[in-house]
């Protein structure tokens, strides 16, 4: 095929400046090290390094410039074209239909220069994500329309398809918009109580030992009281500070959080200082993953994650819907976004006999830690007891959380004690199914099921100790997968 390459463009010079800043930052430590070490050593090798260093620096500066100078990008109505490389030339073609989702991020710098970072994330392991660090808003919008319009099922004439795109955008429906009370609630839920309380408890124990010695010497009620006062004061102080920190964090991350969609795409927008935006095609959603930590289980809040095969993972967990949604609203939103997905509110629980299987299964962690405790620190035998109770409690919670449901094309399964995880997927989006039994499970007529979804890496969800009857049903259901797929 002869490439008819469209006009290729250079990236903005701001990017060059940024690259230089990065280079300088990474050179800072070696340079300082060299300056300081040079004074102390008179070695020949050091001398050589010292004279060579300026040349290395000059070379690096030149390389950064050449890299920027030789980088060209272009696009037509089908694909992106990237030309790069200083010594070896690279030509890359990324067809639009490989793009899984589009992510934007705007830092303050971007906002000042009316630009945006935009990432076209691809699915394949071999393909690289296409990252534009600095693109004008105008161009970013243009590219986004171009990429997604290509993927609409009916794309007759160019002008027409552009019209439909703008029409879709007019049809955008907002599903959830965060309010300030919501944010406060979220800050409260994200306070790391589990880290605050134990640190403080340890603090009190250590302090109290001092206090006891003190009290033995001078038995004064006032002193004890004053100690308690201080302790309470410190506790409240720590809680207040961690609450404030979590407010700052939550507000800056989820400020102006908006979840919306039109009939083709889902949009997520959020952020105070760093504004991020995700657009993803509805047909690319492989499954929903609904997570609840222990604390969220108590508060009835859930975190909904879109399972997609996008490979680009910034440090922001952008493909999670707002992580502090009340359960009911979250389920509603799922159906609103993709009407084929409906959460079964009365799924089947595991049978009682399975609870005994779960509780009686020997825990390797407990056995090993108990052996360690009894051999080396037998005075702390109670730790073993606490650990045992903890493990059994988690198992009980896991039993309560575990459920399973199949209706028509949908499967819904949940398990997990500390963190409960629920998966809702369509049969056609499951790429592999597995049922496994251990000798003990066979005694209890139980089994474990594994469901694989297309993601990056492949996402495997399992439910332990499912009654065999359910697993068999699941197996038969998956075997009829042919009914729900269309082949080319």
């Amino acid at each position: 095929m002869i490439e008819t390459v469209p006009s290729m463009k250079k990236i903005t010079s701001i990017k060059l400046i940024l690259n230089y800043l990065k280079l300088i930052r990474s050179l800072l430590i070696p340079t300082l090290a060299l300056i300081f070490l040079n004074e102390t050593s008179t070695n020949d090798i050091w001398h050589l390094l010292w004279t060579a260093y300026p040349f290395i620096v000059i070379f690096l500066f030149l390389l950064v410039f050449l890299k920027w100078f030789t980088y060209r990008y272009g696009y037509d109505d089908r694909a992106f074209y990237i030309h790069s490389g200083v010594f070896t030339k690279n030509k890359q073609v990324i067809p639009f239909n490989r793009v899984q989702n589009i992510q934007r991020k705007r830092t303050i710098l971007h906002k000042l220069s009316r630009k945006t970072q935009i990432v076209f994330s691809t699915a394949a392991v071999t393909d690289e994500d296409l990252v534009f660090e600095m693109l004008s808003l105008q161009e970013a919008n243009l590219l986004e329309d171009l990429v997604f319009s290509k993927k609409t099922p009916v794309a007759p004439l160019d002008d027409n398809s552009k019209d439909t795109i703008s029409m879709h955008q007019r049809d955008q429906k907002i599903h959830y918009q965060v309010t300030i009370p919501d944010l406060l609630k979220a800050s409260f839920a994200s306070v790391k109580f589990l880290t605050v309380v134990p640190t403080f408890a340890v603090g009190i124990i250590i302090k109290d030992k001092d206090a006891f010695h003190f009290v033995k010497k001078t038995v004064s009620l006032e002193l004890i009281l004053s100690h308690l006062w201080i302790d309470a004061f410190v506790l409240i102080g720590i809680l207040l500070i961690s609450f404030l920190l979590s407010i700052c964090y939550t507000f800056s991350k989820y400020w102006n959080y908006t979840l919306s969609s039109d009939d083709l795409k889902i949009y997520i927008k959020r952020g105070l200082f760093n504004e991020t935006r995700l657009s993803i095609q509805k047909s690319r959603v492989q499954a929903f993953n609904i997570k609840q930590g222990l604390f969220k289980q108590l508060l009835g809040l859930v975190e909904v994650e879109l399972v997609t095969s996008s490979s680009y993972e910034d440090d922001d967990d952008i493909s999670t819907l707002y992580p502090f949604l009340p359960k009911k609203i979250a389920f509603q939103i799922i159906t609103e976004l993709l009407p084929e997905y409906q959460v079964d509110l009365k799924p089947r629980k595991l049978e009682r006999r399975v609870l005994w299987l779960k509780l009686c299964r020997p825990s390797i962690i407990w056995i090993i830690s108990s052996i360690v405790i009894f051999i080396w620190i037998p005075t702390f035998w109670w730790i073993s007891l606490i650990l045992f109770i903890l493990i059994e409690t988690i198992r009980y919670v896991d039993f309560q959380n575990s459920h399973f449901s199949i209706h028509d094309e949908l499967i819904q399964m949940q398990s997990g004690g500390f963190v409960s995880k629920m998966l809702i997927s369509k049969r056609k989006n499951i790429i592999e199914a597995k049922v496994r039994t251990s000798p003990i499970q066979r005694k209890f007529k139980a089994s474990t099921i594994y469901v694989s979804n297309r993601a990056n890496p492949v996402k495997v969800t399992s439910v332990f100790d499912m009654p065999l009857a359910y697993s068999a049903e699941f197996y038969r259901w998956y075997k009829k997968r042919g009914e729900s797929i269309q082949v080319e």
């Binding site: 056609k428 199914a433 597995k434 000798p439 694989s452 492949v458 495997v460 075997k479 042919g482 082949v487």
Partner: protein, 165 residues
Amino acid sequence: MEGWIEQPKTKLPEKAKMAWRISNIISNIIIFAILLTLYFVAEHFNWWHWLQWLLLILVIIEIIYALWDVTLSPYLTQKYWRYDIDEEFIKIKNGKLFKVNELIPMTKVQSVLLEQGPILRRFGLYNIEVHTMGSMHEIPGIPEDLAYILRDQIAIFAKIKEVSE
């Protein structure tokens, strides 16, 4: 799982057992030799005491494991392995203690290849490796002519692609 889940039917050939046995004997002899050498070296050069103990324990574990690996394991593997290949799925059932039933849709198969080591060659056997997006599945010890037929069959079935998103 029998009685609950419909099992695939095709068994692996009897002679696969012998091939696995021989290859397991060889690999266990190698491991055994390495461990034993290490143990004597450790004793001779007076390495840490605990290391000598550790090596001794490893040697004992290896002996027990080798017994299982050479006698019972190939027998049970052959006894319980079942597979079926049709135009929709690769169905695999295997496992000795932990039993696994797997369904791999043909449309998700990305590549299939035959693999043969020196011992399998002696027996005229092949392993069929099926690669999907996230995992690899192996059907071991298939006679040569059947292996080629199955490989081509899987390749043809796998060519059919779903209307993708």
